[in-house]
């Protein structure tokens, strides 16, 4: 009982936590986030089939509404490619092939941004607007939010890549300069023994989530363009 009241703990307690705790946190968080995302897009899936089955005022899918199949397929393909590259990158990272995984991650990032660009082009060049009936509404809503989630995942990827690049010359186990971890050099004292040890947990969680998101992208592609 008295052990509890011993004294106030200092930062080292938290900052000194083993990397595998962060790993477990991020792992569970990645799965939870994926399930939340799934429920989010379930709403749009439901909207698609519900409005399609009702076809109110015969305006579900007017003649002139023709989705941009080619560009849409390209978006989907780029997303899947990016996710695959990240998965390969994880393998490299596990095997301590640091330059290789950094390269793959960079390409994956570029490919993901490419997907966003292509989607924007598709929106601006296609022959119908959001007001053109049920299908157009679902199309715009679904693709827009899909892009939003992709941006989030890419931000995460960029974080990990940036960390890996910033500490590329730090041998594993060495100490960084004070205040590096918080990004606030004004802070005294040390933060994290080994920043690079914190990259892999994030990377593994991300690769799961990013793959899942790409899978949802494939689903969107099937529903919006093939059905």
């Amino acid at each position: 009982m008295t052990e509890f009241a011993a004294h106030e703990t200092d930062y080292e307690v938290v900052e000194g936590e083993p990397a595998e705790l962060l790993g477990r946190n991020l792992n569970s968080a990645g799965h939870l986030l994926a399930s939340a995302t799934a429920f989010f897009f379930l709403a749009f899936l439901f909207a698609y089939f519900y409005l399609r089955s009702l076809n109110n005022a015969g305006l579900w899918h007017p003649k002139h509404v023709s989705p941009p199949v080619t560009l849409g397929t390209l978006v989907m393909a780029l997303t899947v490619l990016s996710a695959t590259l990240v998965r390969l990158g994880v393998a490299d990272q596990r095997a301590a092939r640091r330059p290789e995984w950094r390269l793959k991650a960079a390409i994956a990032l570029a490919v993901g941004i490419g997907a966003i660009v292509v989607q924007v082009v598709a929106w601006t060049t296609m022959g119908f607007g959001p007001a053109d009936g049920g299908y157009a509404s679902v199309f715009f809503g679904w693709t827009a939010f899909n892009i939003l989630f992709i941006v989030g995942a890419l931000y995460w990827l960029e974080n990990l890549l940036a960390t890996a690049i910033r500490y590329r010359n730090v041998p594993v186990g060495a100490d960084p300069k004070p205040g590096h971890a918080s990004g606030d050099p004004g802070r005294p004292g040390h933060d994290i023994g080994n920043p690079l040890s914190l990259v892999r947990p994030g990377l593994e969680a991300l690769s799961f989530y990013w793959t899942f998101l790409a899978g949802l992208g494939v689903l969107a592609w099937v529903v919006l363009y093939l059905l």
């Binding site: 477990r24 989010f40 960390t163």
Partner: protein, 629 residues
């Protein structure tokens, strides 16, 4: 408000500069106007009929979103993402300062966030309650008198939305954030920064909802049904943005809770040793995590309908109002249990302490909570019994709705049997817990009427259903909320709340609560629809009775407020470390709880409610340092 405050000796003007609430507000206002101008630039004259500035939904919505962004950046939420972009590894170093200032900004200490939540939610609970008082003022007379019809609808909508939105976190916010890490022997939440983010998102949302009156209010009530939603003024955008932000906050809160309880339990704390309150949090968090995204999605569709003219809900454009009703209630019904489940957890957590007995049928109680969590997904169309969709499925929804009373019954059985043959010691928390059983009983039984279609045809959308969900939500959630405050305040604030004032508060609140909402069952059966500014002459007596009781109910809240302020700021009677001599983990910590809770992670060797059996180690022995946290 907390004794962990260590006064920092910097002049006040120095403390006001930097990332805190003040800068947050300033940045927020700036962000709003930036968004407003952008939006106005986009749709200047491009959309012909957006003639007046006041009708430009795009400007208002963009303004709100950028305003929230600026608010968060001003609070300091921008620092860490920016550091990550530049490649710094994750860290918890920032924002663990001492002093009162930490309550007005981003703080990653879960205990600070818990207290922030309690004060912030209390503020908006107060505003929502004031709206209710004004509603009852209007209903003192059958004809519209004090408020014009439109403003009355805004009052109704703000009351409902405020309560159903902000109060979703009434238990998870203050108490789960504060006590789950203590109960599971952890030093922090899994994601402290997200934890703080959920709170400030909620505050931004509440502020946005209150600004709806600048835009003429909104007429739809808390459900925001389409197509009335698309017809409404720009005040509607405040509602949409508010609820979307609340949804994001709920989702992240649930994610954080689940991650924490899954990964950060102390060694030896198996799932079957988890305190029942944590189980209540788990089941609620699951609903938070999965239901809120549906809400965000459907509100996103509504925003698109209002801004870029999509036709999700416009039957003349290939949409359907039913789509909104379905999706909204897919979220909406789990949301009702998001409000109810934590109450069950709290009550079952408090009873053993004051009955001096182990929780009766622990596994049954847990299965009850999880059963409600599961079933709450299968019942949403009982809100649409008379709306004319899937009428052949009504027997199924009738069955699934009534099935929920089985797991709910488990909670009752466990609670009652815990009292049985106990050594009951009366205290304010116990009184509120017992009242919970009575209120929830009435609420549940009236729910059977609503779930039974032939009876529902008359009661649907009448004051009967209104009385029903006030009995379950206010009688369930708010009573549990107060039970929790009186139970845990000694640990949270270090001072005991005045017992006598507490008992006065309880009796006034309990009696006036029942005399407010019991007559509403009759009013509903006698044919008064919800949300109407007028009603039939012969119902005036009952309505006046309800109004006066409601004013007394409001007064009881002031008694509590007085007790709270008086005990914490003026009386300042130091609370013992374990005033209820409870055996659960959070009470074994010193008061005030040190910054990182445990200098050595405890190893749990026994079940959480070891009352009456000395054989079981009541106090978990402290294990080797490090452990699993």
């Amino acid at each position: 408000m907390s004794t962990t405050v260590v006064e920092t000796h910097r002049p006040i003007w120095r403390r006001l500069i930097g990332f805190n609430l003040l800068t947050g507000i300033v940045f927020g206002v700036v962000g709003y106007y930036i968004g407003w101008f952008i939006g106005h630039h986009i749709t200047g004259a491009s959309v012909a009929y957006f003639s007046g500035i006041d009708q430009n939904d795009i400007s208002v919505t963009l303004g709100y979103l950028l305003g929230v962004g600026g608010f968060l950046i001003g609070l300091g939420f921008g620092v860490y993402p920016w550091a990550r972009i530049r490649g710094y590894p994750p860290s918890l170093r920032e924002k663990e300062t001492q002093g009162a200032s930490r309550y007005f900004g981003l703080c990653t200490d879960h205990k600070v966030v818990g207290i922030q939540y309690m004060i912030g939610i209390g503020l908006f609970f107060f505003i929502g309650g004031l709206n209710a008082m004004l509603i009852r003022v209007e209903l003192l007379r059958p004809a519209s008198q004090v408020f014009p019809a439109g403003q009355y609808l805004t009052l109704v909508g703000m009351h409902g939305t405020m309560m159903m939105g902000i109060m979703t976190s009434a238990i998870l916010g203050p108490f789960a954030n504060y006590f789950v890490p203590l109960m599971i022997g952890a030093r922090r939440m899994a994601f402290p920064r997200i934890e703080s983010l959920t709170f400030w998102l909620l505050m931004a949302a509440g502020a946005i909802l209150t600004t709806t009156i600048f835009f003429g209010g909104f007429p739809t009530g808390w459900t925001g049904y389409e197509p009335l939603n698309s017809q409404a003024n720009t005040g509607m955008d405040s509602y949409l943005v508010f609820f979307a932000l609340v949804g994001i906050s709920m989702c992240l809160l649930g994610l954080n809770m689940l991650a924490t309880i899954i990964t950060m339990r102390a060694p030896g704390l198996t799932w079957s040793r988890l305190p029942i309150f944590c189980w209540g949090v788990v089941s609620t968090a699951i609903l938070n995590l999965l239901a809120a995204p549906v809400l965000i999605a459907v509100l996103g569709m509504a925003v698109f309908d209002r801004t870029v003219q999509t036709t999700f809900f416009n039957p003349q454009g290939g949409g359907s109002p039913y789509l909104y009703q379905n999706l909204f209630w897919v979220f909406g019904h789990p949301e009702v249990y998001i409000l109810a489940l934590p109450g069950m957890g709290i009550v079952l957590e408090i009873l053993p302490v004051f009955a001096r007995k182990p929780l009766w049928g622990y596994r049954l109680a847990v299965s009850g909570l999880l059963g409600v969590t599961l079933l709450s997904w299968l019942v949403w169309q009982h809100h649409l019994f008379v709306s004319g969709i899937n009428s052949d499925l009504r027997p199924f929804y009738m069955l699934s709705t009534e099935l929920i009373s089985i797991p709910t019954g488990f909670t009752f059985l466990c609670g009652l049997m815990t009292l049985w043959r106990g050594q009951i010691r009366f205290s304010v928390p116990l009184l509120f817990s017992l009242a919970w059983f009575f209120n929830f009983l009435i609420g549940g039984l009236s729910g059977v009427f609503l779930s039974d279609v032939p009876s529902d045809v008359t009661t649907h959308g009448s004051f009967f259903s209104m009385a029903h969900f006030h009995y379950t939500i206010m009688g369930g959630l708010v009573f549990a909320f107060f039970a929790a405050i009186y139970f845990w305040a000694p640990k949270m604030f270090g001072y005991t709340l005045n017992e006598r004032l507490g008992k006065i508060h309880f009796w006034v609140m309990f009696i006036s609560f029942n005399s407010t909402f019991a007559p509403l069952f009759a009013i509903g059966f006698l044919g008064q629809p919800r949300r109407t500014v007028t009603y039939a002459q012969h119902l005036q007596f009952l309505n006046d009775w309800v109004s006066i009781s409601a004013f007394i109910l409001g007064g009881s809240m002031l008694i509590f407020l007085y007790n709270f302020v008086y005990s914490l700021l003026f009386a300042r009677i130091r609370a013992p470390q374990n005033p209820w001599s409870s055996v659960s983990l959070e009470w074994q910590l010193p008061t005030p709880v040190p910054l990182h809770n445990f200098d050595r992670i405890p190893v749990i060797t026994g079940e959480p409610y070891g009352y009456g059996s000395p054989g079981i180690a009541a106090i978990p022995a402290a294990g080797p340092a490090g452990g699993s946290a």
